[in-house]
Each structure stands twice: as structure tokens, then as C-alpha cells.
């Protein structure tokens, strides 16, 4: 016999507070869900694709897919992990549909960050560096690091998406940082030399 408990359909936020009942379908609830996750999804996607326009498109598509499939979310696991799992698929589909990823030299315009031109230039460079380096990492390591740092997921939530244990996720993040350290070191040296 099926589970009939209403709690089955009650989403839990990261803080443990129920934030949505699927059956209520209230606009307010969806707004809250959206506000809580838009930046996280966008950061995750931008870090992966390195282009703000593409990131915006994929972010919209992710939420659209989430909205259309809201009724399928069964309250099993974190809603953040569920949503970021959708975003992850969108990123994969994007790269699958392209023969070559976007050249990183293309403009990476990050809207609405610090207004200082120097800071803006610096951050563009860093995002480009990180995105480029992430592409050289193994996909699971890159995913684990970005989901944790940029999308704000917990180790357990990342484990849900990647199908890994907590310990395995921590190792993936650790190794991603080691790899990143290696990839970014020459870039940083180059930047320093260029500035000098």
C-alpha cells in the first residue's frame, strides 16, 4: 500500500523548516523557493559554462524544468539537491549539444557585481581561470567543488546528486582543490609577472 502521509510531500529547506507543500501550489511558496535558490543555481551554472548569457539561459531553463516537474518531487532528499541536479543536467545537455565549449577568451560579463572596474576585471579573470581549470578536472571533482562552494550544497546533498557517500564527496572536494591549486598556480604567476 502506498504511503499516504502528507509529510511525504512536504519539502524541507536546508534549515529544516518546511518551505513548501507541493499540494498547496501557492505562488508565494514558489517565490520563496525561487528566491532562495536563484543565486545558487546561477553561480553553479556560471562557474561551469563561463558565460553569463548562457548561464542566464540555463538558469531559466532549470527553474522552468523544476516548475514543470514540481509534482514529481516526492520530498525524498533535499529540494536544493533536486534543483541543482536539474541544473547539472542542463549544463551537461548544453555541453553535449556543443561540439566545442565556449572559448574562455570570450567575454565573461558578470552583471551586478562590485562596481569597481579593477575589481570587476579581477573577478572576470578569476572566474575565467576557475572555469578553465574546472574543465581540466575530472567531472565529479569539479562538480563536487562547485556544488559545495558556489551552489552552497552540503556534503550530504552533493552525495545525493552524485550518488556518493559523505566521505567520498569530501575526498572529491579535497582532490579538486589540489588539482585546482596545480592548475591555477602558473596562471597566478603569469598574472603577477604581467602586473609587474
Amino acid at each position: 500500500m502506498v504511503e499516504t502521509s502528507k509529510t511525504r510531500w512536504t519539502m524541507q529547506s536546508n534549515s529544516g523548516e518546511p518551505f513548501a507543500n507541493v499540494d498547496d501550489h501557492s505562488s508565494k511558496t514558489f517565490s520563496e523557493f525561487y528566491s532562495c535558490h536563484i543565486a545558487r543555481v546561477y553561480r553553479y551554472i556560471l562557474t561551469n559554462v563561463g558565460d553569463s548569457q548562457v548561464a542566464q539561459d540555463l538558469t531559466s531553463e532549470s527553474f522552468l524544468a523544476a516548475l514543470k516537474n514540481f509534482h514529481r518531487y516526492r520530498g525524498e532528499g533535499s529540494p536544493s539537491a533536486w534543483l541543482l541536479g536539474i541544473a547539472r543536467h542542463k549544463v551537461k545537455d548544453y555541453f553535449r549539444s556543443r561540439q566545442n565549449p565556449l572559448p574562455l577568451e570570450s567575454v565573461i560579463s558578470i552583471a551586478s557585481i562590485t562596481p569597481s572596474p579593477e575589481e570587476l576585471a579581477e573577478q572576470r579573470f578569476q572566474i575565467a581561470q576557475v572555469t578553465k581549470a574546472l574543465r581540466a578536472l575530472s567531472p565529479n571533482r569539479a562538480d563536487a567543488l562547485v556544488l559545495h562552494t558556489f551552489a552552497g550544497l552540503s556534503v550530504g546533498e552533493i552525495g545525493q546528486i552524485l550518488g556518493k557517500s559523505d566521505g567520498a564527496v569530501k575526498l572529491l572536494i579535497y582532490r579538486a582543490v589540489q588539482d585546482l591549486k596545480m592548475f591555477l598556480a602558473p596562471e597566478k604567476e603569469g598574472l603577477k609577472n604581467g602586473q609587474e
Binding site: 500500500m1 502506498v2 504511503e3 499516504t4 502528507k6 511525504r8 510531500w9 507543500n21 507541493v22 499540494d23 498547496d24 501550489h25 505562488s27 514558489f30 517565490s31 525561487y34 528566491s35 536563484i38 543565486a39 546561477y42 553561480r43 556560471l46 562557474t47 553569463s52 548561464a55 542566464q56 538558469t59 531559466s60 527553474f63 522552468l64 516548475l67 514543470k68 509534482h71 514529481r72 558578470i110 552583471a111 551586478s112 557585481i113 562590485t114 573577478q123 578569476q126 572566474i127 576557475v130 567543488l145 559545495h148 562552494t149 558556489f150 552552497g152 552540503s154 556534503v155 566521505g167 569530501k170 575526498l171 572536494i173 579535497y174 582532490r175 582543490v177 585546482l180 591549486k181 591555477l184
Partner: protein
């Protein structure tokens, strides 16, 4: 815990604390380089925000879509009409053994009059039964929600012209005749419905296809009627395009999730039984056969309803863009319904 695991543990702890703006732990086994890189990553992550204009625009679009979806999933007049037509058909056929189906119709039409939180929702995209202890009926002060069938409003004849629904506190009347068309030629019905019927390759021994009929828009449903050799009802297969959500009320624990050829299906065992049937509600008028219910009659029907597990059964699933319901009395074993469903091509 080996060295790598310890380092990983420390790094994630440090990273999490930075990200969540909490105090960073002391005595971690991290190099200065790792600490610096971690800080840079977190700082970069915090600095990246989507364009506020983009955020607002997407939210606006999503909310519009969300509201549209809500409208499409709300209880609709079409379900009510479909159920009354089913009642009428069974009445006209004088198949008293089909009383279970009549009361199923009553249960389904309740969804028109009440908008209540669902107690359960299941796996099908376009069929979401709601388990309730008692059939909800809002009464005169309740929240009635009858919607214009927007997708069909451009047709020459609107639902309002075909039916004569009045306020909840008044009688509800429905003219049936124009809505239903029988044909032994299924191609004719398919032409009317705008989709091709799916046929089962298996039917229980002794059952045969007797006839089909089409319930016109906004119901847009084809019913395939199977009888047994001795002209007793065997089962009905009801097909409609999976383009809207049907949300009937069912008794507690009535729904069982199943698997038909690897796809989700729902088995509903039971039926709402009421004190009286609608068998004598049909009257002839200048608009053809009419079914009329007074508010008192409606209330009486709903209040006296009890869920009887052995009364009826339905197997519901989606296949090739259609929502399919196989409905049968208790004489057909559940396994047979599954075999019918699995054989659909």
C-alpha cells in the same frame, strides 16, 4: 582515517565555515596555499550574483506559468460533465450491476465543488487522486470552482450553451444528448477526438469489444466498452489525451502504486457508495435528456457516502500521450487488469 581522509575532512570543514560565514576551526592540517585558494574560491563565489533584472524577469515569467498551471490543474467543469454523462449512460443502459460506476461518478464530480488540500499525490503526471476519509462537500457556503473550458472556448458551441449550471445553492442541470456520440466505427470516434485509440492485445477470456463512444469537448474522451459473452459488463477502457490533470477523491489507502511495463501506474480499489443512485434523475426536456440535482440532493449524496473497498477497481496509467483508465467491477481480478494494460500497443 588515513591522511587523505583527514585532510579532506579538514578542508571541507574549513571551506564550509568560510562559506557559511562561521568561525573557522583551528588546528587544521591545511597548507597556507590551500587556505588561500579556499578563501579565494569562497570570496569569488560570494561576489557572483545574477543580474537583478534577470532575476525579476525570470521570476515574473515563472510565476505566470505557475499560475497558468494551477488553473489547468484546478477542478474543472469538464470532469463534472464527464461524470454525469457516465452516470446517464449507465442509467440508460439499465445496467444495475453498474451501480458501482454511478457512485464513482458521484465521487468524481465532487471535485468540481470543493478545492481542498490533497492528502496524497502519486506518480502519474495527469492523474492525481486525493485520499480523504470522507467525501468533501463544501455546502452552500463552500468554495465552488467551476472554470470555463478555456482550451475549447473558441469552438462554435461553448460549454455554457450546452449546460445550464447555476449557482451552488441552486439546482445543477445538465443536458446530455449533444455531448455523446456512439459509433461502432472507432475511426469516426478517433476523428472526433483527434487522437488514435490504443487497443489491448489481451482481454480476459469471455470478454469482447462491444462498442465505443466519444464524449465531446471539453471532455474529449473515448470509451471502449467490453462485455462478457452473456452480455454482462466486463470492463471499460477510457482514453483521453494527457493534457490536463484529473484529481478525483478516493478513500483512505485506496491507491496502490504499480508498474506497467516499467512505467508508473495507479491501482484504485474501492468506490464511494451512497444512499441512493442517480438512476431516476434523468428527465426529458426540449433540450433532450436532462439531469438535475437540487442542493439538498447533492448534499445528501455526498454526506452519506462511504468508501467500500470491494466495490470497484480502476487501473490508471499513461501511454503514448494518453491517460488510460481501465475500469471494472469486482468480478475481474486485478491481475487481469494488469495483463490488459501490459498488452496495450
Amino acid at each position: 582515517m588515513d591522511k587523505s581522509e583527514k585532510s579532506a575532512e579538514d578542508l571541507v570543514e574549513f571551506l564550509t565555515a568560510l562559506r557559511d560565514e562561521q568561525a573557522t576551526p583551528h588546528s587544521l592540517s591545511l597548507s597556507e596555499e590551500e587556505v588561500t585558494l579556499t578563501k579565494e574560491l569562497v570570496s569569488l563565489a560570494k561576489a557572483v550574483d545574477p543580474d537583478p533584472h534577470f532575476v525579476r524577469e525570470v521570476e515574473k515569467r515563472l510565476l505566470a506559468l505557475y499560475k497558468a498551471e494551477q488553473r489547468s490543474t484546478a477542478p474543472s467543469l469538464s470532469n463534472f460533465v464527464a461524470d454525469l454523462v457516465l452516470i446517464w449512460r449507465l442509467t440508460m443502459l439499465k445496467q444495475k450491476r453498474f451501480v458501482y460506476a454511478i457512485v464513482v461518478g458521484i465521487a468524481l464530480m465532487v471535485s468540481v465543488f470543493t478545492v481542498l488540500p490533497a492528502l496524497a499525490q502519486f506518480t502519474l503526471t495527469h492523474f492525481a487522486p486525493r485520499e480523504v476519509e470522507k467525501l468533501p462537500f463544501a455546502g452552500d457556503a463552500g468554495t465552488r470552482s467551476i472554470e470555463s473550458p478555456e482550451p475549447y472556448s473558441s469552438t462554435s458551441e461553448t460549454l455554457e450553451e450546452r449546460t445550464d449550471f447555476t449557482a451552488k445553492s441552486e439546482s445543477a442541470s445538465l443536458s446530455i444528448d449533444p455531448l455523446i456520440s456512439y459509433s461502432s466505427d472507432i475511426k469516426t470516434l478517433e476523428g472526433q477526438a483527434g487522437f488514435l485509440v490504443l487497443w489491448p492485445r489481451y482481454v480476459p477470456p469471455g470478454c469482447y469489444f462491444r462498442e465505443g463512444y466519444y464524449l465531446d469537448k471539453p471532455i474529449a474522451e473515448i470509451h471502449l466498452v467490453y462485455d462478457s459473452d452473456n452480455n454482462q459488463p466486463c470492463f471499460d477502457m477510457i482514453q483521453r489525451q494527457a493534457d490536463r490533470i484529473h484529481r478525483p477523491f478516493v478513500g483512505p489507502g485506496a491507491v496502490e502504486e504499480m508498474d506497467i511495463n516499467g512505467k508508473a501506474a495507479l491501482y484504485i480499489g474501492g468506490v464511494w457508495v451512497v444512499n441512493e443512485s442517480l438512476a431516476d434523475r434523468g428527465t426529458m426536456s426540449d433540450r433532450g435528456l436532462m439531469i438535475t440535482l437540487s442542493p439538498e440532493e447533492k448534499a445528501k449524496l455526498f454526506e452519506g457516502a462511504t468508501w467500500v473497498e470491494a466495490g470497484s477497481q480502476q487501473l490508471v496509467f499513461e501511454h503514448s500521450g494518453l491517460l488510460i483508465r481501465i475500469q471494472a467491477g469486482p468480478s475481474i481480478p486485478k491481475e487481469e487488469l494488469v495483463k490488459i494494460a501490459e498488452s496495450i500497443e
